[in-house]
Amino acid sequence: MAAKSNANTQSSNAHLTTPTPLTGSEILWATLVGEGVDTVFGYPGGAILPAYDALRKFPIRHVLVRHEQCAAHMADGYARASGKVGVAIATSGPGATNLVTGIATAMLDSIPIVCITGNVSSKVLGTDAFQEVDITGITLPVTKHNFLVSKADDLAHVLRQAFQIARSGRPGPVLVDITKDAQQATAIFDFAAARPRPYRPHPMLRVENSALDHAAELIRSSKRPVILAGHGVMESGAMEQVRALAERAQVPVALTLLGLGGFPASHPLNLGMMGMHGEAWVNHAIQESDLLIACGMRFDDRVTGKLSDYALKAKKIHIEIDPAEINKNVKVDVALVGDLRAVLEELLPRVSARDGSAWLKAIESSKGAVAVRDIKNLPDSGHLYAAHVMHDLWRITGGNAVVVTDVGQHQMWEAQYFHHEQPRSLITSGGLGTMGFALPAAIGAKFACPEKDVWVIAGDGGFQMTAAELATIVQEKLKINIAIINNGYLGMVRQWQEFFYERNYEATPLVSPDFVKLADAHGIPGRAVRTRAEVADAVNEARAAKGAFLLNFLVEKEESVYPMIPAGSALHEMIRRPGKGAKNPLEETAQD
């Protein structure tokens, strides 16, 4: 996965130190090199051809995607796995519009990516020229910022600014649209002089001493505190600080979907995932809590349920870098508006050791006979449940993998049964919930950490949305393991139809190709798995395979994700797992 070595590497690096006349296309790549980019994901076309023509002179590996949406998802997966800025590139018109879903996915989850699009020449901008589209207009609400560059002279500065915007503060996607004539024109490239203006933190960041004291006092005097840890823990690199706070004050930690991995799953203070498909005891603990310490999370509706019934007994401390998130959904008592890690470092010296045993014991007893009734201890009934697959995958890999999930039931089962110890070990589209995300995002993740095992877990529906990227895996010779959780339905939608639409399974039964044959057509070996007894062997075969491997898990068709809080219900009003003797043999893992 080393960057393409090139005879011109030397000269391109020289550009970074000496002002040199270059074409806009060369400036584009030279600036990317200067910003530390070694891999980009893209698809060529007329309006971006000058840029592609100049690519060979620069030490950047270009990954040819099969659809531009996937280029954005790959950049996104790369960014999530590495913490660096991912880069996607596309041509004008349809190339640019295809990026939009991927950009919105990154926007909703605050992922730093830079998307570069070509556009028609500045002379014909706005004339409905061939493959012209107003992509800066289209992406305005789904980017952190975007630029239209029509002069080669502006390019280096704009690109450097784009990288700064993407990775600073609350990260997000930035799009740079470059006209064809700007790519072709020549300008003096001076990397150092093109540095962006100094980063200006949001002027409403505010961490007052009195607020820190107040927060510490709330923690000291609380009887039933819970830490709510979100994606910000990872983005801020505050894993150690959150852990220190939890351990010192003996506060249990509940995680959002995107927060999984930010606090070790095996830690005794880890409650698990909260929200719509969180375990009953986690949501009960939040509802019973007298103090919520929200760390880098935004009280999303999937996390809170019905707001007017959310954690009514709890005071709330909100530590958050985006001032626009304060009091947006949940009114908080103390707002510490700043970088999570920096805030916690100021807060920690004010927090002293605290006995939390009574509260922890109460939560523990609310779990019920988990150990006895957990799925892993149920006898093999001959059926294959997705939860089995997740549990076995976790057990066999020892959790040492980067798991990239798609969207739907399997995504929730993964979150419930695959236990994440490390940050950036789960990559998933949380905010936008973009089906088709997993396969391309996994390709990006593999480029970010080639030394790690990367597993795609996708449903039969979502997988088909971007299955063409199998060819990209082959072309790039990537070792990625693919697990399709195949139940013949758009499972999560079917589940909603079952619960809320009187089992009217309209448009959810799904015919799929034979995924093993589909993989085979790409030269990727694969295997179908029908019983639990085969799971371990199949997983091991996939892991041992030299290249990519596809497992088609044919699981129970009408299984649902439990527990579930129906949309708009309070956090404690959940649909529990059906009891013994019911069609579903899985037991609820918490007492009522």
């Binding site: 800066t136 609400p141 001032p323």
Partner: protein, 194 residues
């Protein structure tokens, strides 16, 4: 409640779209928006008035600041300030009935800025109610008003401005906390003028 935001934004193509798009996304109607050059090179100053809940002010200001081209945002709220609007009103008037309009213009302290044999143009500056008043009186004579052009509201805080504008200009070095205190004091000043 009615919110008034004063913002300094970069004078570049598309910046107004970004500001307007934010309000569109929040499903908030903009009642009035005026934009023009400011005292600061390369920056436009805008006054934006909108109807939104009392709690929305914080989030709108925070969201405006998140726009890369927005340099400063002031939430005027109830702070002492001067708000003015400019109106140009074209009225049908012949030499025979002009004098009545001249009298009205005098009463309202407006000005005649154009005069032809069929019409005249009135320029009027003032608070919204004063302009509404003149228009209402002119309408009493049916068919007299030919065109109305109104600028929308422009707002400026009264007195020495201690908030982030000066800070952004580099004229005042102060901590965020100090600035916050001063702003909250300022907000409590009684509004004796206007």
């Amino acid at each position: 409640m009615l919110h008034t935001f004063v913002a300094y934004v970069e004078d570049l193509p598309g910046v107004l779209t970004r500001v307007a798009s934010l309000f569109r996304r929040l499903n908030i109607n903009i009642n009035s928006l005026t934009v023009g050059r400011s005292e600061r090179q390369g920056l436009s100053r805008l006054t934006l008035v909108c109807e939104a809940s009392a709690e929305a002010g914080h989030r709108i200001r925070a969201s405006l600041f998140k726009l890369e081209n927005v340099v400063d945002v002031d939430d005027i709220a109830q702070a002492p300030s001067v708000t003015r609007e400019l109106a140009l009103i074209k009225v049908a008037a012949t030499p025979q009935n002009r004098s009545r309009i001249f009298d009205l213009v005098e009463v309202f302290r407006a000005r005649i800025v154009d005069l032809t044999s069929e019409s005249l143009m009135i320029e009027m500056t003032g608070v919204e109610s004063k302009i509404e008043g003149l228009i209402e009186v002119l309408r009493e004579d049916e068919g007299r008003i030919l065109e109305i052009c109104r600028s929308g509201k422009m707002t400026m805080r009264r007195g020495h401005h201690v908030s982030s504008v000066l800070k952004a200009m580099g004229a005042v070095e102060e901590t965020v906390a100090e600035q916050n205190r001063e702003e909250s004091q300022e907000n409590t000043l009684p509004s004796t003028l206007d």
